[in-house]
C-alpha cells in the first residue's frame, strides 16, 4: 500500500506546507485525564467527514460505494458526546495514536503543552529511481494545553467548560468541511490506493497520518514523532 522511502510531507518537522494544503488549527485546554477523550472527539469528527464506504469497482469504469455506519460516544470525563464512524479498526488506530500522545504529554520535559496533527495526503507515483511523493492536501493541528486542577469543584467546572469548548470545535470543523474546497478526484481502480486507505474492512478514509509534538517549557520542540497508521507499514 505505502511504499517505503522518503516522504516529503508537510507536518510538524517545520517544513512549509505545500501549496494547496489547507491548514486548520484548533486549540483546547484540558485536564490531564480529559486529553484522550478530547482528542478522540476531534479526530473522529474529522474522520467522519473524510471517510466513505468501501469502493467496489465494476467493469465499464464504474464503482459502487459501501455504507458508513455511525455511533454515539459519551465521554466519561467531559460533559460531551460525539459521533464517530462505526469502524473498530479505525477507532483502534486513533486510540493508539492518542494514547501515545497522552503518554508523551505526561512524560518528563513536558509542561503540558503539545500538539497533535492529522494530515490528509495523496500519493504521487514517481518514476524510478525517485520514490513516491506524499502530497498533503489538508492538515488539522490540535494544540493542547494540559491544566492542573486543585479540587473537585474545579474539576466539575472543567468538565462542563471543556464540553462547551468541544462543541465549538465541532462547529468549526463542520464549517470548514462544508466549504467544499479541494478534495482529491475520485480515483480509478488502479489509483485508489494513492488517495484512500483501503486497508480497513468496513470503511475507507482518505489517506492520513497522525503525528505529534511536545513542547518543553522553553517553547521549543523536544520530540517529533511520525507514525504511520496504515497497518502494513514499516514503523520508522
Amino acid at each position: 500500500m505505502v511504499g517505503p522511502g522518503r516522504s516529503r510531507c508537510c507536518g510538524p518537522s517545520g517544513a512549509a506546507p505545500a501549496m494547496n494544503c489547507r491548514a486548520e488549527v484548533l486549540e483546547v485546554s484540558v485536564e490531564g485525564r480529559q486529553v484522550e477523550e478530547a482528542m478522540l472527539a476531534v479526530l473522529h469528527t474529522i474522520l467522519l467527514h473524510r471517510s466513505t464506504g468501501k469502493f467496489h469497482y465494476k467493469k465499464e469504469g464504474t464503482y459502487s460505494i459501501g455504507t458508513v455506519g455511525t455511533q454515539d460516544v459519551d465521554c466519561d470525563f467531559i460533559d460531551f458526546a460525539y459521533v464517530r464512524v462505526s469502524s473498530e479498526e479505525l477507532d483502534r488506530a486513533l486510540r493508539k495514536a492518542v494514547g501515545e500522545f497522552k503518554d508523551a504529554l505526561r512524560g518528563s520535559g513536558s509542561d503540558g503543552m503539545g500538539q497533535i496533527s492529522l494530515e490528509f495526503y495523496q500519493k504521487k507515483k514517481s518514476r524510478w529511481p525517485f520514490s513516491d511523493e506524499c502530497i498533503p492536501w489538508e492538515l488539522w493541528t490540535i494544540k493542547v494545553n494540559v491544566v492542573n486542577l486543585a479540587n473537585e469543584q474545579e474539576r466539575q467546572i472543567c468538565r462542563e467548560k471543556v464540553g462547551e469548548k468541544l462543541c465549538e470545535k465541532i462547529i468549526n470543523i463542520v464549517e470548514v468541511m462544508n466549504r467544499h474546497e479541494y478534495l482529491p478526484k475520485m480515483p480509478t481502480q488502479s489509483e485508489v490506493d494513492n488517495v484512500f486507505d483501503t486497508s480497513l474492512k468496513d470503511v475507507q478514509p482518505y489517506l492520513y497520518k497522525i503525528s505529534y509534538q511536545i513542547t518543553d517549557s522553553l517553547g521549543t520542540s523536544v520530540t517529533t514523532t511520525m507514525r504511520r497508521l496504515i497497518k502494513d507499514t514499516l514503523a520508522l
Binding site: E60, G61, S64, D72, V83, C167, I170, P187
Partner: protein, 516 residues
Amino acid sequence: MDTDLSSQDRKDLDKFIKFFALKTVQVIVQARLGEKICTRSSSSPTGSDWFNLAIKDIPEVTHEAKKALAGQLPAVGRSMCVEISLKTSEGDSMELEIWCLEMNEKCDKEIKVSYTVYNRLSLLLKSLLAITRVTPAYRLSRKQGHEYVILYRIYFGEVQLSGLGEGFQTVRVGTVGTPVGTITLSCAYRINLAFMSTRQFERTPPIMGIIIDHFVDRPYPSSSPMHPCNYRAGEDNGAVYPSVEDSQEVCTTSFSTSPPSQLSSSRLSYQPAALGVGSADMGYPVLFAGGLNAAHPHQLIGPGKEGGVPPVPNQPAHGTQADQERMCTPLDGVHYSAATPSSSEDTETVSNSSEGKCGSPHDLLETIFIRKVGAFVNKPINQVTMANLDIPFAMFAPKNVELEDNDPMVNPPESPETESPLQGSLHSEGSSGSSTGNTHDDFVMIDFKPAFSKDDILPMDLGTFYREFQNPPQLSSLSIDIGAQSMAEDLDSLPEKLAVHEKNVKEFDAFVETLQ
C-alpha cells in the same frame, strides 16, 4: 456544454433533494430520542442506504415528513422545518430548536448532479449527525424521562422562529449548491436553556412565557401535532406503517471514474414502489395525540430515567406525621430548648426513644426514663407523641414557657406551611441528637439528620446549627433566688477580701511590674 439541466439530471436532483429531506428529519428526530444511536458500516452497498450512510428509517417519522412535504420539495420561500420542543409532565412546553432546510436562488449550473451534489449531500448529512449532538437540546433529550419529554413537529413553509425566545443562536450545518438553487441546512436554538441547565431540569413555573395552549394557536393549517421523540417504532401504537422497503425508493448508485463528459454511463437505478400508506394515515394523528395527552409520561418513555425527588429516609415521613400532630398540640413549641438543667435532663430522658422509628406512643412511653440522653435529643418526636400524655409536659411546661417567649428560634408557631415540614421533620426525625462527634458517651447516639439539608459541609450544617441554638444555657440572672443570696454574701465578705488584698500588695505590685 449544455448548461440547462437535462431531464434525467433534473429527476435525479429532485429525488436527491426529497430523500435528503427525509433523511435529515430522521437524523434530527433520532438524535432527540434520548438514546445513543449505533448503526453498522457495511462494505457492500445495500439498496436502501441513501447517501452511503446507514441511517435507519423510523416509519412514523418518514410518514410525518412526507405528510408535511405533501409531494413538494424545499424551494425558495418554502422551507422544511423540524421543530424540537420540550414538554413537562405538568403540561408546560417550550420550543428548543428549529432545524431548517431551505433553498435559495443561488444556482451552480456547473456542478454535476449525480456525482458532486450527491457526495456533498452525503457530507452534509454527516455534518448534521455531528451538529445534532452539539446543541443544548441534545443533553436535555438524553435526560428526558419522568419530568419532561422531547417532542418534534415537522412543517413546511415559512420558518417560524418566534417561539425560541429572545437571543436565540443559529448554527449553520452546511450548504450544497445545485443547478436549481443552494440548499442550506441550519439550526436556530434557544440559549436561555442554560440556567435550566443540562444538570437539572427544575419544575419552575413558565419563565419563558410558555403558552399553555401552545398547540392551538398555530396559524398554519398544515401544522401537525407534536410527536414525542422517544417512541419505539411500531411499539407504542398499533398502527401499521409501510416498511422501508415498500415505501422508500431504493437507491443503487454507481459512480463513474471517467471524466465528467461520460457521465451518461452512470445512472441511478431505482424501483419505485407503492407507498401503501392506506389506513394507517387515519389512525396516526389521533393515536399520537391521544397517547401524548392521556398517557402519563412514564408510559411513553422507555427505560426510566432518574427524575423527581430522590428517595429520602425516614425523616420526612416522621416530619409529616409529627407535623400534623404538632398542629394539634399548642405545647409543641415548648420543648425545643433545654430550659433548665433539670428540665433538659428530663426532656432528654423523654426523648431518644425513636432511633428512626416513628413508633407508637406506647413504644416511646416504654423507653422513657430508661436512658440518659445528651443535649437536644429528639425532643420533638417525644414532644409530639407525648403531647397526649400530660405528665411530662406538665413537669416541663411552667419552667419553659417564659424562656420560650424570649427565644424566637424555639417557638415558631406562625411558620407557614412550607416551613413546617422542615421543622416538623427536624424535630421528629427520630435521632437521638448529636452526630457522632459528641462528647456524651453513655447512651446510644444516632446521627441527627435534618431533612432537606445536606450535611456534607462539616463545620456548620443545619443540624449543628439547630443543636447549638436550641440549647442555650440558663441565664444566671434569671434565677433570682440564687442571685439574691449571693449578693448579700458578697457584700459581707468584702471587708475580709480587702484585708487579704492589702496584705498582698507587694505581690501585686511585683506582678504589675512584670507586665510592663
